[in-house]
């Protein structure tokens, strides 16, 4: 909404945004980041507009119209300064003191996730910067919603804070490049849906930096897996500008999830990075939004077909409400199916390729048109598959018949399901990540290493 107001004002036309109460700080922050520090706005009072009838909205609009007329006929309001940034220029020492004093200062400044941080001293940051050939002041990405320039130095500072080892820096830089890609849609990360980034890693970097790709991969224990994930949360706060109550409007939110490194040696399939267009052997980071993670369901049965039947049933359960996402936040979506190596090998030995798995899920994880419509009506009362097809949000095949019992897929195309292999080789378990479409669409980036990478690692004792 704020962006629409700013772009209208940029065209020389006065514009006013109707902001739901509680979202004003977020709206003003976005407007400021887009170049309009004093945005014309009026407040829509609680309760939430999504829960109100037209009649109630109409009544509340009567006084609102007075506010709108007054706002459009008055000069734009004064600029609203950012309280967070005062005296905190990039590369500047912001506090000197004990570990406790530094942590207190950072926590009060809203620069932490609540856990103690490692102080980003000049020395610690310089040690990390040894692991890149890029200049400290080089801009890695411009990150919404604050539209700030994340530099190599500011990435390293947040990496130190998160507890990352210096040699993780190339991964951190690639992560910021990924979320800075416009296709990722980072500007939506503060939505009330409260999603969190999900990180998948491929390539030699997994072993070089000792990421866990096996048993308990998503437990917060291995330093690389958990601190890189923590770094990304800190980066979203300090480099992108997401803070609870002002720009991060998550209704509940999710904690960060440790990096999922793919078990490439145990997998019978090409890694995800190859599916994403990279050469095998390239170190690649893939980041996408996770709305939820299914339970780690066992897939049982004597045959691969039995296993797939269970996986499709769970995909239907997990993605059944996903139809709202694929309809309004599509057309591209990127949910994830993670198979344990044991299950992947059962499927591969029976001749199933990754494409076969995707096709099976697409064909068998389906809900009735009636259920589909019920889900769409949660978006807007009365919104139906037919309307979505007429608007081009769903393919015409979704309306091939009028039978309410017809079965419809939970993806636009089979290829949209990302399939990865990780976790314990000894268990027949799997999980599914429910993803938020163009809010955090999967983006992959090669992890670029310095020329003397091997030597640097050797000196660090990481090999």
């Amino acid at each position: 909404m704020s962006r629409a107001v700013v772009w209208a004002e940029k065209a020389g036309i006065p514009a006013v945004g109707v902001v739901c109460k509680g979202f004003v700080p977020s709206a003003l922050m976005i407007a400021r980041a887009e170049g309009l520090p004093g945005m014309r706005f009026v407040e829509y009072l609680p309760p939430n507009i999504a829960t109100e009838s037209y009649e109630a909205i109409y009544e509340k609009s009567k006084p609102l119209l007075d506010d709108i007329v007054r706002t459009l006929t008055a000069p734009a309001p004064a600029a609203t300064p950012s309280a967070i940034r005062a005296g905190a220029e990039v590369g500047k020492t912001v506090v000197t003191g004990s570990l406790e004093q530094v942590n207190d200062f950072f926590r009060k400044s809203q620069w932490t996730d609540g856990l103690p941080i490692v102080p980003p001293t000049r020395e610690a940051v310089a040690e990390m910067l040894k692991f890149t050939e890029r200049r400290p002041d080089e801009v890695v990405a411009v990150l919404p919603p604050e539209n700030s320039e994340a530099t190599v130095l500011s990435v390293a500072a947040n990496g130190v804070m998160a507890g990352c080892r210096p040699e993780y820096l190339p991964v951190l830089i690639a992560a910021v490049e990924a979320i800075g890609d416009a296709r990722f849609g980072l500007q939506h990360a503060g939505s009330t849906a409260g999603w969190t980034p999900f990180i998948i890693l491929n390539g030699p970097i997994i072993k070089e930096l000792a990421f866990n790709s096996g048993q308990g991969v998503l437990r917060p224990q291995r330093q690389a897996n958990i601190t890189v994930a923590r770094f990304l949360r800190l980066a979203m706060m300090n480099l992108a500008g997401y803070r609870l109550g002002s720009s991060d409007m998550a209704t509940f939110g999710l904690n960060y999830i440790p990096v999922l490194a793919e078990a490439e040696d145990e997998s019978p399939y090409e890694p995800l990075s190859v599916d994403r267009g990279f050469e095998r052997g390239t170190s690649v980071i893939t980041i996408l939004s996770a709305l939820s993670m299914s339970y780690q369901f066992p897939s049982t049965g004597k045959t691969a077909q039995d296993q797939l039947r269970v996986i499709a049933r769970e995909a239907k359960r997990e993605l059944g409400s996903f139809v709202r996402i694929m309809t309004i936040f599509g057309p591209e979506v990127s949910p994830v199916l993670c198979l344990s190596p044991l299950v992947a090998n059962i499927l591969a030995e029976a001749g199933y390729t990754k494409d076969d798995i995707r096709r099976y899920i697409f064909d068998h994880a389906r809900i009735t048109a009636c259920e589909f419509d019920e889900n769409l009506a949660l978006l807007w009362p009365g919104y139906t598959i037919r309307q979505a097809v007429e608007q081009g949000k769903l393919a015409p095949s979704f309306c091939a018949t009028h039978d309410p019992a017809r079965l419809l897929p939970l993806l636009h195309e089979p290829r949209q399901l990302l399939v990865v292999v990780s976790g314990s080789s000894a268990k027949n378990r799997n999980f599914i990540i429910n993803q938020a479409g163009d809010q955090g669409l999967a983006v992959s980036r090669e992890i670029r290493l310095p020329a003397k990478w091997g030597e640097l690692l050797m000196n660090k004792g990481s090999r």
Binding site: A11, P14, A50, Y54, I57, Y58, T73, R85, N158
Partner: protein
């Protein structure tokens, strides 16, 4: 866990881009004006726009209200796009009201 070692900690923040656009001039009044309404997304933002358009028409007999997409090729109720500037210029509206749902 007391610590006596002094730390000089650097700022972890990124540098905000400094760009500012001049806000548009206010209208002298709404009489005879053409007002564009945009619903940029989420539930019931469309109903709010409908209500405001209806009320505006009742308040000012000579005000024209039009619904605008939030960008070229965008549908009513979709995310705003930078091409809003083109939409606004082509529609020749005098002011814009943007609604969002919940």
């Amino acid at each position: 866990m007391p610590s006596m070692q002094p730390y000089e900690a650097l700022s972890p923040l990124a540098k905000p881009l400094t760009r500012t656009i001049a806000p548009a001039s206010a209208l002298a009044g709404l009489e005879g004006k053409k007002i564009g309404f945009m619903w940029t997304i989420y539930t019931n933002g469309d109903l709010l726009a409908d209500a405001l358009m209806d009320l505006l028409g009742k308040r000012f007999a000579n005000v024209e209200s039009v619904k605008l997409p939030a960008g070229k090729g965008q549908r009513w109720g979709e995310y705003p796009d930078r091409s809003i500037e083109d939409v606004i210029k082509e529609s020749a509206v005098d002011a814009v009201v943007v609604t969002v749902g919940g």
